[in-house]
């Protein structure tokens, strides 16, 4: 928002230097001179040359390089190492180089003079190739060749005014002086934009830094930004985006280990999340990250791995032992390893290098293995990591960091500091018991999704990675053979319990049968009793009948006797 606003109000000329145009929200002020100053060897000439070459090649703005120190041949030889074909551009009329030689011993001053010769040469070169950009490197050399400082100062002031009048976007380089930015105080004349380059050595490691001291009429980043000069030119690393306004993705990507994916509620990681895999040496951090790489490349995504302790070749070979063929991804151009010793650069440089490589390769998955190899003062380390995570998040890159967690007093705080930046923390642990070592894995946190709280044992074999549910029971968490033994014991106990219960079942059956038998007997005796009862009843009836019959008979006989 700010950048659009400022570009609207103040036209800017892009330098084409990675990161610098971001820091300045668009580049150097168009049609005005800018001062680039710094001590010897800090990259002023290179910065200026890059500005010109990019102008000529990328933005169709030819440029004049007025060199007060180096000859044209030396200049083009120096920048050839960066892949700039200065000779070709000169032949094509895109760049003109004028070497201004001022030799004190040849010069005798006899009265009034001005620097009209310089103006005319510059004007002539500008007109010849219709230049839009100008570099004056390093104009203060004039003060060594000519003694009339008052004339030089007023002429320089006139020169900068002249550049402005002609609408030329110019870089004036200046050597760092005592107590001021440049030896001759050029910053007084060139007041629109001042860039300070610095080359500092700390703990035997050099870090180049760039700062925009002032930029009239424009917002700009005010921090010191590390920058990098290597065979690919200059790149500046914009430090942190101040706000945490990333676009977040709901897309789920696999970790490459099926059973690990299953530990997350959503079946994988959110794209663009940062994952920390921590564990001591040999717990399988690299192996898990290799799976993640493999899965990403298999999806056809670009994947970049920054390795600090092994070479890319070595990782490929080792991954092969768990059945992963990373080499085919390398060959297909989907995977890139960037291996460097941590001590090769300072933290800032590592960051700048990563930034540049990521900008070029545009990976969707980045592995940093191990992040704990980066050493430095704790504050700086924390800041660097923060920016690294930031940079990756801002680009929606899924990042896997491995870390050698050193349990105990030192390193703990680092680790906690790191883990709070992470969205997902997978912890690997060695468990040593019963004379063997087994690897366990658990998920400590996973922002934005439910995850398994269980400890899993994980096994690495030629068939790949496999997670096994660890034994969790009254005897604690058991892994390895202890788990197998425990499982066998449990099985035996279960068998015993089963046998017990069967015996009890049989007992019950037996008892039931005996009771049923008793019931049957009782029923029998009941029936007998009933039968007897019936019999007795019958007899009674018969007797009654007989009695009745007899009585009737007697009566009849009595009547007959009458």
């Amino acid at each position: 928002m700010t950048s659009e606003h400022t570009t609207a109000s103040l036209p800017k000329a892009r330098t084409g230097i990675d990161g610098f145009d971001d820091v300045t929200f668009g580049g150097l002020p168009t049609g005005r001179p800018s001062l680039v100053c710094g001590a010897a060897g800090c990259g002023k000439t290179l910065f200026a040359t890059t500005f010109l070459v990019n102008g000529a090649t990328l933005y169709d703005e030819p440029g004049v390089f007025m060199s007060f120190e180096e000859r044209a041949e030396d200049l083009s030889a120096n920048v050839a190492s960066l892949g700039y074909d200065l000779d070709g551009l000169m032949a094509a009329g895109k760049i003109a180089v004028d070497h201004v030689k001022v030799e004190r011993s040849e010069i005798e001053e006899t009265g009034e003079y001005d620097l009209e010769g310089l103006f005319i040469r510059l004007g002539y070169a500008v007109d010849t190739i219709k230049a839009k950009r100008v570099v004056l490197d390093t104009i203060e050399t004039l003060f060594a060749g000519l003694s009339d400082a008052a004339v030089l100062r007023s002429e320089l002031r006139r020169l900068f005014g002249w550049l402005k009048d002609r609408g030329l976007t110019a870089i004036i380089t200046g050597e760092r002086g005592e107590g001021q930015l440049t030896r001759q105080g050029l910053e007084e004349y060139v007041s629109d934009c001042v860039v300070l380059l610095d080359n500092r050595v700390e703990d035997q490691i050099t870090t180049r830094r760039l700062r925009i001291v002032k930029y009239r009429g424009s917002a700009h980043g005010t921090n010191e930004y590390p920058f990098l000069i290597d065979e690919q030119g200059i790149s500046v690393l914009p430090v942190t985006a101040a706000d945490l306004s990333y676009k977040v993705s709901n897309e789920i990507v696999s970790t490459g280990v099926e059973s690990l994916d299953a530990m997350f509620g959503s079946g994988g990681l959110f794209r663009g999340s940062s994952v920390l895999i921590s564990g001591s040496a040999g717990t399988g951090k690299t192996t898990i990250s290799s799976h993640t790489i493999d899965a990403a490349c298999a999806r056809g995504e670009h994947c970049m791995s920054f390795v600090f302790e092994e070479s890319g070749e070595q990782i490929c070979r080792n991954a092969h032992s768990v059945g992963l063929d990373l080499r085919r991804h390398l060959d297909a151009g989907l995977l890139r390893f960037e291996a460097a010793r941590p001590s090769l650069y300072g933290l800032e440089m590592h960051l700048a290098r990563m930034h540049r490589d990521i900008e070029q390769f545009r990976p969707s998955v980045v592995v940093i293995d191990p992040i704990s190899a980066l050493r430095g003062p704790e504050v700086e380390l924390q800041a660097t990591l923060l920016r690294m995570v930031d940079m990756l998040k801002a680009r929606g890159i899924t990042a896997v960091f491995t870390s050698l967690r050193t349990d105990g007093a030192f390193g703990q705080s680092d680790d906690l500091g790191l883990s709070s930046l992470m969205d997902v923390w997978i912890k690997l642990q060695d468990i040593e018991a019963n004379g063997e070592r087994s690897r366990t894995l658990y998920v400590i946190k996973a922002r934005g999704m439910s995850h398994s709280n269980q400890v899993r044992e994980f096994q690495m074999s030629a068939a790949g990675l496999k997670l096994v549910d660890a034994y969790i029971g009254p005897a604690g968490v058991l892994t390895g053979t202890a788990r197998i033994v425990q499982e066998a014991q449990e099985e035996a106990a279960a068998l015993r319990r089963q046998q017990d219960s069967e015996r009890r079942k049989r007992d019950v059956t037996r008892r039931r049968q005996s009771i049923e038998r008793q019931i049957a007997e009782l029923r029998d005796s009941l029936e007998t009793a009933e039968e007897e009862e019936t019999l007795l009843l019958d007899e009674d009836t018969q007797r009654e009948t007989m009695l009745t019959i007899k009585r009737t008979d007697i009566a009849r006989r009595r009547s007959a006797a009458e």
Partner: protein, 110 residues
């Protein structure tokens, strides 16, 4: 102004090029000063070419001219650049490697 051909050796002992920027009073003054010095000290021993760098800017680059005016002494060796309006005659002569002859001492020059 002798020796017109580009590669032809200039027979004059002192070959001089004066680079001026336009016809400003300073340019005029410089030319006058130089003519006078040449007349007094280098009569018949020099050749002089006056270049207006506004007219021929490419020559300014070729001759490594920065300041204007600049008097370039090509021969005799070593090469010298004398900048300024040549008002300080002693310094001009020193730059040219010419020392006032003894006979010049009894009359005209300093």
């Amino acid at each position: 102004m002798s020796g017109g051909g580009a590669n032809a050796p200039d027979p004059a002992e002192y070959q001089l090029r004066l680079f001026i920027a336009g016809t400003s009073p300073r340019s005029q003054r410089t030319i006058e000063n130089l003519r006078r010095i040449c007349r007094e000290h280098l009569a018949d021993r020099h050749s002089l070419v006056i270049v207006d760098i506004y007219q021929q800017p490419e020559l300014a680059e070729a001759a490594q001219v920065v300041a204007a005016p600049t008097l370039l002494k090509l021969t005799p060796e070593p090469l010298r650049r004398i900048v300024g309006d040549l008002s300080d005659e002693a310094r001009v002569l020193r730059g040219l490697g010419v020392y006032p002859l003894p006979r010049g001492g009894d009359g005209s020059s300093i």
